[in-house]
Amino acid sequence: MSWTSLRPWSAARFAFASGAIAGGMAAGAWAGGCPGDLDGDAGIGSSDLATLLAQWGLPGAADLDGDGTTGPNDLALLLSAWGPCPGGAGPIAEELAAVPRAAFPFASRVETFLTGATVHVAIDIARHPNLAGRTVDAYVVEDRDRSAWAADPSLPGAAQPIILGSDLAGGVRPLATASLPGPTGLAFSRGYDLVIDVDGTGTLTAGDLIDGLDGPGVLVVANASAAGPLAVNTVAAWDTNDAAISASFQLQRVWYPSDIASMGPLPLVVISHGNGHSYTWYDYLGTHLASWGYVVMAHQNNTVPGIETASTTTLEHTDAILAAPATLAGGALAGKIDATRIVWIGHSRGGEGVARAYDRIFDGTYVPTLYGLAAIRLVSSIAPTDFLGSASANPHGANYHLLYGSADGDVCGCPDSDVADSFNLLERATGERSSTYVHGADHNDFNCCGFEDFAGPSGTAIGRAAAQVVAKATYLALIRHALDGDPGAREFRWRPFEDLRPPGVAANVQATLEWKPGIATVVDDFQAQTSIATSSSGGAVTIAGASGGLEGLMNDNNTTFTWATSDPWNGMTRARAGETTRGLVFDWTSPSSVEFQVVAALRDFTARPFLSLRAAQGSRHPRTVALAGPLDFTVTLVDGAGRTSSLAISAAGGVVRRPYQRTGYGTGAGWQNEFATVRIRIADFAAGGREIDLADVAAVRLEFGTGAGAAEGRIAIDDLRIEER
């Protein structure tokens, strides 16, 4: 059996203006098993000929040579390839599993689904015109790899007949997956393949569609906030008796699987508490993670003198537990902690302390005994302070995460103090990074016993229980992704919170996520090139219709959140003076746009699957106040031939929330500007037969105003990138 992997950007009506192969078919100009296979049946036949003739004189999928119209040369090419696709026919691999959306492209193709969720299948009818209006059988089967499918192409279980429509929306249909078994044991995700048995043979054959030929197409994940399968032991207080550790700060609390004797070395999670907090305050997290197979240690943290001492205790306690002497749990952990897979989680001053600890190893000013920098696979700060600034409180290239509550009454994100601006640390991280901004959570919701510091509007507090459910789910998914590379955990870092809301978290709990994977092609990060008219990749940037356009440092320049034209970066608590975190701000009351010309070297958007940017509403700006809700806008790609394809970010699942309506620091309501990552599958711009050459994108245009999204608003934009999955 042979296979055809239909790359998502090789959409049916896909014209390669610059990619045409002289005298031959344009690369990728096919819908099915080979070039010219317009109906996807793995061969060139009468149906394909009919499609070509129907498109005569027009651009489209039948424009096989990519010259802009369907004509005699295309006919000759098709006839020359008549018959089965070279190399034999095979199933067609493409992304099918999806969540539905209300507008074009009517679905977001994703991998991760909560146990019990409804998986939708999304078939682009324009790519598979042979399926329009048909009833086909869908199967969701246990994941098999390519060779396993070749050996056994049978489709077990009951077929799910789905009735397809004749347009893009009609290709999106729900499947009965509520009873699909989730993972068992310590597994976080369970893989399935989604198959459309086009010919109804009950086996995977040529012309069938499959999502999951190489790796699972559907990943059903565990309830990340629920306890794992393992019983847990705890040592309430272990005295390290380590003379290297500051006097009076030598105690640890440790959680580990009760049956650790039968298990191999387990990763270590270290929790470093904040000032006036206690190492005994994180039972909820220690127990949770240990039940999923981790050794968790919380230690006394020397935070009163400052961040340097706090970082020292983190560094030294990590060494102390890795030694796992007989005095700890009777030696039960000896040889059971993996010194190459360590996670540091710090809270408040401890949150800055873990970043400082990483920085000290990075700088070579501290050398651990039993581990090295490469062993620190993830650093996460819960509402960290920023006393030390970029020279010292710096995660560098660590895989870094920030958890923050919008109602924090201590490390408040206030405009008059850099020390209280947790997001400064996130902005300094140069590696893979993400953040979780939880509306209505306060500083001490993430421990058991800190004082009440809720500082948000009445009625918006989510409470300690809900905040800790969010924290448990966030950390398990985060750690599974960072340590294990679990593909099912990856989408927790960027999918809208509403998509993967942990069970048990009320529907009114909102969280905003940012994610910036380490590998990307940057169109504009607003840093390498400081002219507003030029992107960091060197292309022209044109702002039309908008007011107040400005590129600059994301640092509120006064001590209030009151909107003032003299403080265009109002609400930005992302940088200190002298740092480099920059972005673009503007507002509008009528249709407006910002267009980023794409330089020649970057025009092939098929190289990576996602277009990404981050956006935030401008807190307390009159346009934000008037909008009083989520902000929608449209992203348009313009190809080299001037053809365009647009989609609203909301239709890709993007959510740019109204700022949390916290008051204080001046007049009005609205707290710090709240960036959300918006990721759009690039292939979706070519969905439904839209004519756009994604291998030759000349410009990315963001469109605002009536017809494109919110009629008015104030927005900050940053990090326009083409990214890995």
């Binding site: 032991n233 207080a237 509402a383």
Partner: protein, 216 residues
Amino acid sequence: MNSLIAIVAALPLATVAVPPAASAPPPAARAAAVRPAPIRGLVAVRPFRVAEPWTHEYRADRPAVREGWIVVLDADPALVRPRQTEQMVLMGGGLPLEIVHVAVDAGRVVAILPRVPDSVAIESVVFHLASPALPESLSVEAAEARRAAAVAAGLLPRDGAELARALAAGGGAVAAADREAFDRELAAAIRRHLPGESARADELEGRIDSTPRPVD
């Protein structure tokens, strides 16, 4: 907001700066504008000496500690409640105290005032809460500037009678081999003067439960 009201209410009027904004910022931010504040009382003072010194991590020069005083003092709870951001520094003269434990509701603090080369006699020490900083970042000069600011603000050493009572309450001088042994003396001070805070005393005495137990 309640904490803010508590702070403002507790401070002498003359020591509170006018807030910059129409609406009130939280205490952490406000603290930066607060001038030196007095402590409310000196409860106990106990001289000590250790054979093996430890490092005082509460000033940038990191002096070695061989002797000093265990002090128990009362302060405005709102000013000594541990916070994450900028916080006033509890000082004895020109040296930030090592805070051993704070009974946050009562505002009672057990701390260590080392005797270092630039120390003055206990009778001359001005205990005060100085402008916010991380103690570890304070140079000798910066710490001295805070002491001078406290004096300039009219703060005085404790009077003789109060100091005499505190010394009597502290008990006689204590000698310990090292910090671990000295921790037991600190625990005793907590048990005596912060009777509701036994958990911290237990930790300092090594009265801990290190037996592995299943989590329910």
